[in-house]
Symmetry: C3
Subunit: 346 residues, 3 copies
Amino acid sequence: MTTRAFRLDELAERFELTLRGDPAVRIEGVATLAQADASRLGFLANPRYRSQLAETRAGAIVLREAEADGWHGASLIAKDPYVAFARIAALFESTPAAATGVHASAVVAPGARVAAGASVGPCCVIEDGAEIEDGAVLGPHCVVGPRCRVGAQSRLVARVTLVQDVVLGHRVLIHPGAVLGADGFGLAFERGDGEPGHWIKVPQLGGVRVGDDCEIGANTTIDRGALGDTVLEEDVRLDNQIQIGHNVTIGAHTALAGCAAVAGSARIGRYCLIGGGAGILGHLSLADRVTVTAMSLVTHSIREAGEYSSGTPIQPNRQWRRNAARFKHLDELARRVDAAEKETKS
Amino acid sequence: MTTRAFRLDELAERFELTLRGDPAVRIEGVATLAQADASRLGFLANPRYRSQLAETRAGAIVLREAEADGWHGASLIAKDPYVAFARIAALFESTPAAATGVHASAVVAPGARVAAGASVGPCCVIEDGAEIEDGAVLGPHCVVGPRCRVGAQSRLVARVTLVQDVVLGHRVLIHPGAVLGADGFGLAFERGDGEPGHWIKVPQLGGVRVGDDCEIGANTTIDRGALGDTVLEEDVRLDNQIQIGHNVTIGAHTALAGCAAVAGSARIGRYCLIGGGAGILGHLSLADRVTVTAMSLVTHSIREAGEYSSGTPIQPNRQWRRNAARFKHLDELARRVDAAEKETKS
Amino acid sequence: MTTRAFRLDELAERFELTLRGDPAVRIEGVATLAQADASRLGFLANPRYRSQLAETRAGAIVLREAEADGWHGASLIAKDPYVAFARIAALFESTPAAATGVHASAVVAPGARVAAGASVGPCCVIEDGAEIEDGAVLGPHCVVGPRCRVGAQSRLVARVTLVQDVVLGHRVLIHPGAVLGADGFGLAFERGDGEPGHWIKVPQLGGVRVGDDCEIGANTTIDRGALGDTVLEEDVRLDNQIQIGHNVTIGAHTALAGCAAVAGSARIGRYCLIGGGAGILGHLSLADRVTVTAMSLVTHSIREAGEYSSGTPIQPNRQWRRNAARFKHLDELARRVDAAEKETKS
C-alpha cells in the first residue's frame, strides 16, 4: 500500500470543516478511536464511543462541535462527522486503477460493444448485443449477456453475472457473486385430466433496470421481470445475499440490509430502510420512508411512513418455551378473559 | 429481438382455446393489461386485476368464460387463463439457440464425455468422469465435476457449479450461481482429554440426484448427501437463494419460494408449497400437500396436508414493542388468568 | 471409485477402538444402518436409530458399549461413535489428489507468488500481491485478489472469490460460491441543503482474517472490515449461505448453521452454536458457549452461556391466525388482567 499523507489544514480546507489545534498534523490514514495512532485520523459519530476520547492516541479526530470539549487534541469540526469521515477516508482507498482494455483471456463476442475507455478483466465473457460504456470496470470472471448495458463508470468487482436485458446506470457498483436478470419464479399449475397435475414455467420476458449510483452486495440476486422490468431507482443500496423478485420496484435512496427478500411485484417507496433478513410479500406497496426492523415479515401494504416490526424477543430457551406454548392458545386465553370480564360486570 | 407474429385464430387452434371476436387480430407479443397495446395479448387470471379490463388497450385477452362479459374486444377463453397464457408466452421467448459444440475457451478433461449435440459455453470446466448428454446447454463459466451427469435437454444458464456426484435428469434448468454437490455440514465434536475440544469433519460421501423437469434458482445451494444421496424428485421447483441440506428428499411437484431452507435429512412430500424464507429443521417429515407460509419455522413433523404458520403480524413498532414485552411474560399471564378463574369459581 | 478395503482389526488398532466379534470382517466402505450391506461399516450414535440394529445387514457397527448388547454382529466399541465413524469414513473419501502446478488456463499476475507445491486449477485468476502457500489447492474458477494469502494445505473447492486483503490460515476449507473480502455495508446519509439527501459510501479499508482449520460453506459471504479486520478464530465452522458483516469477530470452535447472519461489529464468543437462519444484530457481544436456536433474532448482548430463542411455534394456519390476531392486542389484554386482579383484591 502506498502511503499518502495530508496536513490537517489541507483536509479542513478540502472538505470545508473547521480546524481546531495544530494545522500541521500529518494524517496518513484513518482508524477507529481504539486503534488509531498519531498518524491516523479518528472519528466520533456514535455517542456510545464518546468514552474512548479519553484514551485514544489519534493524531486528530472528526467530531461534532458539541463533543469537541471532550478532546484536547487536534480536530476537524463537522456537522455530520460520519459523512465527513466517509469523504476523507475515500482519500486512502487503495483500489488500484484498472488498466483500460480487454484482458487477453476474456471472451468478447463480435456483436458486443466495449468502449475504448472501459476495462474488461481476466476470463470475462461479453456476449453478443452487450454494451460496456466508457470508464466501466469489470473485474475477473464477469459475464454480461445479450442486451445488457454497463453504464459509464460502473464497476463489477468480480464474478458478477448479468444474464440478459439488464441495464445499469452510471457509477453502479456490484460485488462478487451477484446475479441480475435471472428468470423470476413464475409457475402455473396445470391440473391433469383426471388428477393432480404439474408445473408449467411462465416465460420470463422482462429485464432489470438499475439507476445511477446504486450498490449491490455480494451474492445478491435480482430477477428479470416476467412482463415489464424489475426496477431499482437511483441510489438504492442493497447489502449481501438479498433476493429481489420479478417486477419489484424499489424507490430512490432506499437501503436493504443483508438477507432481506422482496417477493414479486412488490413496490417499495423512496428513503425506506429494510432491516436484515426482513421479508416483504408479493404485490404489496410500501410508502416512502418506511422502516422495517430486522427479520420482520410484511404481509400487507403499508401506507404510512414509520417503523414496523414483527416477531418476539429473544429469551432464555426455557422461558421462551413456556411462553411459546401459551401463544398456541392465546385466542382461548383472550376469550376466557372476555368471559371473566362479562361475569364480573354482570 | 426478432418479431414473431401470430393471428388470434392460429393461437386458438394451437392451444385449443375458444376464440371470441376478430380472428385476424395480429399478436406480436404478450403484456400485462396495464402495458399492452393493440399488438399484444394480455391475460386476466387474478380477479384483483379485473378492473383493468375497462382501460386496457390489449389487442386480445386470455380469460375465463365467466369474465368474458367484462371485455368488449377479442379474446381467447380458457379454463385456466394463467396456464394458457404461459404456453402462448413461450412462443415469444428470445433465448437464442445455443450453438452445439465446445467453446474454444472451455476446458474439457480427457476423461469427460460431451455429446455431439451438446453445447458447452465459454470458460466452462468439465472434469474427468463428467458426462454432458445430447441437447444439454451449458452457458458461460459452468463447472461440472467428477461423476456428474447433465441430462439431455438440460440447461445450466451460466456459472453453475456441480461439484461432484451430481446427476441431473432431463430438461433440468439451473440458474446462475447455483451450487450442487458441495459438502453437507457434518461435524462431530471431539472433547479433549482434559477439556473443551474441537470439531472433526464428518466426510461427506454421497451425491445429489435431481429428477426430470426440475428448476433451480440463482445462488441456490443443494448439498451432497453424507451417506446416500440428496434427492429432488421430478418437477421440483426451487426459487433463488434456497439452501437444501445433505440427505434431504423433496417430493415431486413441490415448490419452494426464495430463501427457504431445509436442514439435513428432512423429507418433504409431494405437491408441497414452502413459502419464502421458511425453515424446516432436520430429520423431519412433511406429508404431501403441506403448505408452509413465508418465514415460518417447522420444528416437528407434519403428518396432515394443510397450511401451517408461525410468527407474529407486522405492526407499528411502538405497538409491537408493548406486545412483544408482554410475550416475555405470557406464561405468567396465563397462570394469573387460571388463578383468577379458580378463585371466581370457588 | 477405487475400492479400498480394511480388516476390522486393522481399523480397531488404527483408531484405538475395542473390537468385538470377527476380526477378519472386510470393510470396503461406510453406510447408514438402513443402507449398509455386509461390506460396509455402519454406526449408531443417535439413540433414535437404535431400532435399526434389529434389521441392518451391516458387516460391522461402531457403537457405544452401552448399545453393544443390542447387536449380535461384529462391532467397534467407541466412547464417541460419531467421532470414531468420522475418522474411519475419511479413509473412504474419493477426492482425487490435485496435481501441483498452475493449469494452463489460469491467469497468474507477475506479482503473485504461488508455491511450487500448490495446485491452481483451470480458469483461476491470481492477482498481483496474492500468495498461495505450499500444499494449497485451488479448484477451477477461483479468484484471489491483491494482498490475499491462501495458507498451507488450504483448499478452495471451486469458484471461491477472495476479493482483497483476505488472509487464510492453514487447512482452511472453502466451498464454491463463497465470497470473502467484499466491501461491508457502510453508508452515511448526507442530508441535502434544503432537503432529503442521499447516501455516501463509507470506504471499506480493512481485511478478513480466517484462522486455521476453519470451514466456510457454499455461497457464504464474509465482508472485509471497514477499519480493522473481520476475524474468524481457529476451527470456526460456517455452513452455506451465511452472511458475516464487516468487523465481526467469531470465537474459536463456534459453528453457524445455514443462512445465519451476523451484522457488523458483533462479537461472538467461543464454542457457540448459532442455528440456521438465526440473526445477530450489529455491535452486540455473545459470551462463550451461547446457543441460539434456528431463526431466532438476537437484539441485545448475551452475557451468560446457555440456550436462547425467539419466535412462535408452528400451527395449522387457521389456529395461528386467531392467535396472531390476539398478539396484536396482547398489551391491552395484559392490562385488562391487571385491572381485573385489582378489582378482585379491592
